[in-house]
Symmetry: C2
Subunit: 427 residues, 2 copies
Amino acid sequence: MDVLSNHPIWSQSAARVLARCDQLAKCSESPANLTRTFLSPAMAQANEMVANWMSEATMTPRVDELGNLIGHYGAREKSPTAPKLLFGSHLDTVPNAGKYDGMLGVLLAIEVVSLLQGQHLPFAVEVIGFSEEEGVRYKTPYLGSRAIAGTFDSYLLGLLDSNGISMSQALHQFGLPPEAWQNARYDSAGIIGYLEAHIEQGPLLEALDAPLGIVTDIVGQSRLQLRFMGQSGHAGTLPMQWRRDALVATSEWILAVESFGNVTDGLMATVGTINVGPNTSNVVPGETICSLDVRHANDAVRETAVDGLLAMASRIAAQRGIGFEVLARSNQNAVPMDSRLRSLLQRACDKTGVHAPEMVSGAGHDAAVMATLCPCAMLFLRTPGGASHCPEEAVLVDDVALALEAMHSFLLSIARETGEHFESPTL
Amino acid sequence: MDVLSNHPIWSQSAARVLARCDQLAKCSESPANLTRTFLSPAMAQANEMVANWMSEATMTPRVDELGNLIGHYGAREKSPTAPKLLFGSHLDTVPNAGKYDGMLGVLLAIEVVSLLQGQHLPFAVEVIGFSEEEGVRYKTPYLGSRAIAGTFDSYLLGLLDSNGISMSQALHQFGLPPEAWQNARYDSAGIIGYLEAHIEQGPLLEALDAPLGIVTDIVGQSRLQLRFMGQSGHAGTLPMQWRRDALVATSEWILAVESFGNVTDGLMATVGTINVGPNTSNVVPGETICSLDVRHANDAVRETAVDGLLAMASRIAAQRGIGFEVLARSNQNAVPMDSRLRSLLQRACDKTGVHAPEMVSGAGHDAAVMATLCPCAMLFLRTPGGASHCPEEAVLVDDVALALEAMHSFLLSIARETGEHFESPTL
């Protein structure tokens, strides 16, 4: 396949993918920015637009019971039991989003299928545009992939959005039968695997001067809510030495969290929120409630870190004579990517002539859910400036071209494992 | 006067004052708690109640152009130019207030006048219940005392409350002529001085086991609003070492503020508010806005402290590669109490047989405004538990009795300076 490297076909395809990202970004709930949440009219519009592109790529599009858009490209031998290779990512966005997070992976996959130029493989290829990954509308992420992977639960249908509309009602209004949600589930038998391409959403690839990266693990995550309980008092009459200032205690702990994160390889530890009571300039703060977000690819490292950070909080609070408690705590384990698919992807990247470093994903992705169904791999594209979840989100056309080349090569390498030989795209 | 010490008359009077505090606390805008703001119906009710008590004490009550309630007890020789001695404090409250802050000083003064039992002095005595000290309704404190002291300004009449009602409209609705505000002003000629009794609102007297304290200075105060400007980022994808976390920087500075306050005698330095942007658990904080409140009896010490704390903030921000700016800054100089009145008050306290330690007031009071008009002194009463501006606010009946005895003695000592001799209350 080396003959294809640097061939104009990849850059032409990349330009088409990016033009489609621009067009898709017009499907929005807001005229001012890109916001597209689960089961919104903008989602219906986006599904229709992407379904047309799937059809152009000679795929058969359908919308499943949870609103996932699925393009089917049949196996050479028409059989309902033909194995399937899945590609995809999500079509929903955060509020005021960029044009690439999620969507780019779907449009790349469609382009890769179109580059088969009608040649069929010993397995079917499906491109999935997941209906919901960000969790904006129901404050619960991965609804689309959970339905397909079989980890959706019926209680989710009862969740209410901020307008009091249940998910069940919303599905119905979207034209989908809520009672049929279980039909969205895939049978793992015969699924070869799932590949998701996604922007990195971080600065590592840019710093390494690498256009592409290969995900080894999607990090595990602990999220906690903590309360420090001191004693409020008059800022003018309560002497410094007698204070039990919850904000000062929290500040001491925030610095400890940073130091701990700095010395623990691969750990991300973030205090992202703090709310002070009473939050009045002339009152010594009596209480704070703050968040802690801890991530690591190794669950044991993460759990040890959380225990250590809580012990620090407890010690700091005790030294200052104030109370401390954990209000809420949730844990999500790390998800390793499949080693066989990873090495196929590594070889596919090598063929493009660039080194794709291995890296962990600090953000969650549909691939973490799909890994409960089938072997998964993820390809990251460099994010200029590290910006994501904002209109400044960007990708480089050359990186998109390389990603297409690698994904195409990955697809053919799986076909080749079956003993087949396939033509390159017509040049 | 020593014969009076420990005499039941003081404790009977103290009980009456406390019973009136209870009764006055029923004039509230809220049935659930005590809240009485400037020009509210509750204020009209309170003025009427207190005016009746003034009348019982043979004073002539009136409400001035800014709603201050003033009880006049004439000089022995009826003359419009007779000198005047002023007592008082404020009748408004913070929301969800205690029963003593402000009100106690007014009711103590009325009781002291009633203990004269109709004897008149070579000077008039006036008890002022200031209409507004807390600054709740128009976010500007001391409106009543500013009108009397002559530091009110006409632009204040245009301020709007949270319902969009201007102070001018509110005065009019209260039955007062807004255009006549300048008539509230007192001429400093012939005013002997002003004495304000107030709860300490802090823990010092309790710690010293002292029922009464004498204020040497009302501290100066600097209030600032600061912004730290870092860079927000994804909590899972932005490595610790590359972060420009505004909250971590602010935390480092908050600890520096505490340390600086701890080592600087008499300094109070408080960060009471912090607001984080975007304040989302999985986003590295990009920006914080926080307050700084610095107080000291010595203006030079305070100003040097503020400069030092800002330099620290600037250094910490620079080391972390983040921006820092001061958004707002206001200064109020310290106000010393009058040395002659202070020593008369000290002697009056001595006569009660308890030592009244000298102390600075970390909170502002009407006396700080009245000091621009005439010599001022302040008597503090112990605050059990140090609680103030809350329903837990308390005073001890024995402390109230001692305060009455000291105030009565103070009043007579001023009369005695004119060569007069006055009878003790009839026992």
